[in-house]
Amino acid sequence: MWGLALFGVVFGVATTTIAANDPNADPFRVTVHAISGSLYLVSGMLAHYRRPANRIGLLMLAVGISFLSEDLQFSPTAWIHTLGQLTASTSSAFLAHLALAFPTGRLETRPRRALIITGYAGVVTMGFSTALFSDQAAHFRGNAPGLLLIVDLPYFNHAVQTAGRFLAAFIAAAIVIILIRRWWRANAVLRSLLTPVIVVMPATGVITAVGLALRDIVPTHDAFVRAYDVLFAALPLMPLIWMLHYFVGRGTVNRLARRLNEPLRTAEMQDLLARTLRDDSLRIAFWSEAGLVDIHGVPLAMGSGRPPRTITVIGRSGNRQAVLVHDPLLSEDPHVLESVTAATGLALTNQDLSAQVAAQLAEVQASRARIVEAADAERRRIERNLHDGAQQRLVTALLWANAARRRLGQGEPAIQEQLTRIAAQLEAALTDIRELARGLHPAILTEAGLAAAVKEVVGRLPPEVRVRTEIGPLPKLATNIESAAYFVVSEAVTNALKHAHAVHVEVAVACADGVLSVSVRDDGRGGANASGGSGLQGLLDRVATVGGTLTLNSPEQGGTTIKAVLPVDHT
C-alpha cells in the first residue's frame, strides 16, 4: 500500500511534467489537475493510516493515480500516450466505487456491485475505443500516434464515447439516489459519517452527469469544465474533513477519558459512551452464567442481528471485564474504539476497586460491630453466670454460717469465732465478685434500663460534687446502643472526678429524631485527649462501632464536654 502511495507521488510529478510540457496545455487545468490528484493521494494515505484494514484509502489512491494518468495522453512518447488513452476515464469509475463503498470500503449489495462493474466496463471500453479507433496525432498537434491504433474511425469512436458518457451520467444519477436513500435511512453513527459525502458527492455527481451529457451539445463549455474540475478537486477534501473530524473526535475521546476518571455509575458511563460515540444503542454488558447481561443484570437479547450489533471486549485477554455492544460502524475507526475501550476498562477497574474497598470497609465495620457485640454478650453472660452461680452459692454459704452462729447462741465461743471468720471471708469474696461483675457489665442496665443506670452512676459521685442530670423520655433501646451510651456517661463521669477534679458535672441524655444524644460536661482541668490513656479511645471505638459519633471538647484552660450521638434504630 505504501509502495503504491510512493508510486502515486512519483507518478504525479511525472504526469504533471508531461501535461505542463504539452503545447496545448491550459495552465489552469494543469494546476487544478495536479492539486486534485495530489489531494486524493494524500487523503488515501491518511485514510490508510487511520484505518489500515479499510479499502477506502486504497480506493482514494486509485482515484488519485488514475486521475493523474489522464495527463499521460499529452506525452509525445507513443507508449505513454497509449497508456493515457486507455486510462483516460478510469478515475470516474474509481470515484463511483469510492462513493458507494464509503465508509466501510465494501459494496454491500448486489445492485451496487453490478453498477460499479458496469462503470469499470464502460471506462475500459471507452479507453480501448479511443486507443484502437482514434488517431490522436491527426486530431491534436504534437500528440504521439497511438500504438494500438487500427484504423481512425472518428464517428464510431465519438458514438462510443457519447454512449459511455450517457452511461456515466446514468451511474452518477444512480449513485446520487443511493447515497440520499442511505443517508435517509442511516442511524446516527452512519449519518454522521455520510454527511460530508452526501453534500459533495451528489453535487459532483449531478455536475458530472450534466457536464458529460452536455459536453458536446454546448460548444463553449470552458467555464463549465473549470467548475467541474474545481469541484472534482474539492472532492477528496470531504473525506479529509471527515478525518479531521475524527481527529477532533480524538479530543472528544480525551474528554471522555477525563470524564470517566470521575466517579460514575455504570449507567452514567454507558450514557456518556453512547453520546460520545453517537450510538444510542450502545450498551455496556457483563458476563454472567446467563450469558451477556446489561448493566441492570437483564440478559442481553442479541436477537435477529437487526440492527446489526458488534461486540468489543473491554480489558485484556484473561481479564475480560465487560463488553461494549455497539454499531458495527464504530469498528471502522479502530483507533477511537481502542481508546474508548481502554478508557472504559480503566474506569470499570477503578469502579470495581472502589466497590471492593467500600465492600471491604463495610465488612470490616460490620465485623468490628459483631466483635464488640459478641464481647458485650459474653460479658453479660459471665456476669449473669456469676450472679446465678458463684454469688448465689457464696450467699447461701454465708447465711448458713450465720444460721450456725445463731444456733450456737452464747455457747462454743471458739466455734463462734471460726464461724465469724468464715462469714467474713465469704463476705469479702462476695464483695470481690460483685465488683468484678459490675466491671463486666452493669446489672442495672439490664435490669432497669439506661435512665436508671445513668442515675446510679451519678448517684455514686461524692456529695461535694454538684450534679445536674437531665434525662428525657427514652424509648426501648437496642442493647448495644444502651451500653455505648452508658459507658460514655460512666467513663466521662469517672474522668471528671478522677482526672479533672471537677466540682460541677452536668449530664444530659435525650432522644429525638432517631438519635440518642448523651453529653457530659464538667468544670474540671480540661486538656483531655483520646491518646491520654483515659479510656476515651475505647469510647471512640465503641461509639463508632454502633454507627455513632463521639466529640470531645477539652480546652487547656479548663472544662471538658464529651458528647455522643448514637443512631437509635441501629441494631
Binding site: T396, L399, R434, P442, I444, A448, A451
Partner: protein
C-alpha cells in the same frame, strides 16, 4: 412479745429457701409456705394468706417486681420484701415502683434485718 408473723418465701433456689427458713423461722416469723416460681408464689399467697412475703427478684417465670405488683393489687395488706443476690442500687427505681415494703440483700438476710425493713 408480738405474734409471729406468717411468712411466705418465694425463691427458685431450694438451698436459699432452706437457709432462709432456718434463719427466719422462729420467734418473729412463722414460715407458712415456700414457692419456687412467681405463679406458685401468687397461688400460695392466695392459699395461706401470709402477712409477709420474702420475694426473690429473679424468678424463672416472671420477675419479682411483677409478682409484687400482682400481690399488691389482690392483697394490699401483705408486706412484700424483695431480696436478691444483687444490691438494691442495681434495680434503680424498680423496687420503689412495684409497691414493695422494702428490699433485703440476700447476703444481709437475718430476722433482725427483715424486721428492720418491715417496721423501719
Amino acid at each position: 412479745m408480738t405474734a409471729r408473723r406468717r411468712l411466705l418465701i418465694v425463691d427458685d433456689d431450694p438451698a436459699f429457701r432452706a437457709v432462709a427458713r432456718e434463719l427466719l423461722d422462729g420467734e418473729a416469723f412463722h414460715v407458712v409456705s415456700e414457692a419456687a416460681t412467681g405463679s406458685a408464689g401468687i397461688g400460695a399467697a392466695n392459699g395461706v394468706r401470709p402477712e409477709v412475703v420474702l420475694l426473690d427478684v429473679q424468678l424463672p417465670d416472671v420477675s419479682g417486681f411483677d409478682v409484687c405488683l400482682t400481690l399488691m393489687r389482690s392483697h394490699a395488706e401483705i408486706s412484700v420484701v424483695l431480696c436478691s443476690v444483687r444490691d438494691a442500687s442495681d434495680y434503680g427505681p424498680l423496687v420503689a415502683e412495684c409497691g414493695a415494703r422494702g428490699f433485703v440483700a440476700k447476703w444481709a438476710l437475718s430476722t433482725e434485718e427483715l424486721i428492720r425493713v418491715l417496721d423501719g
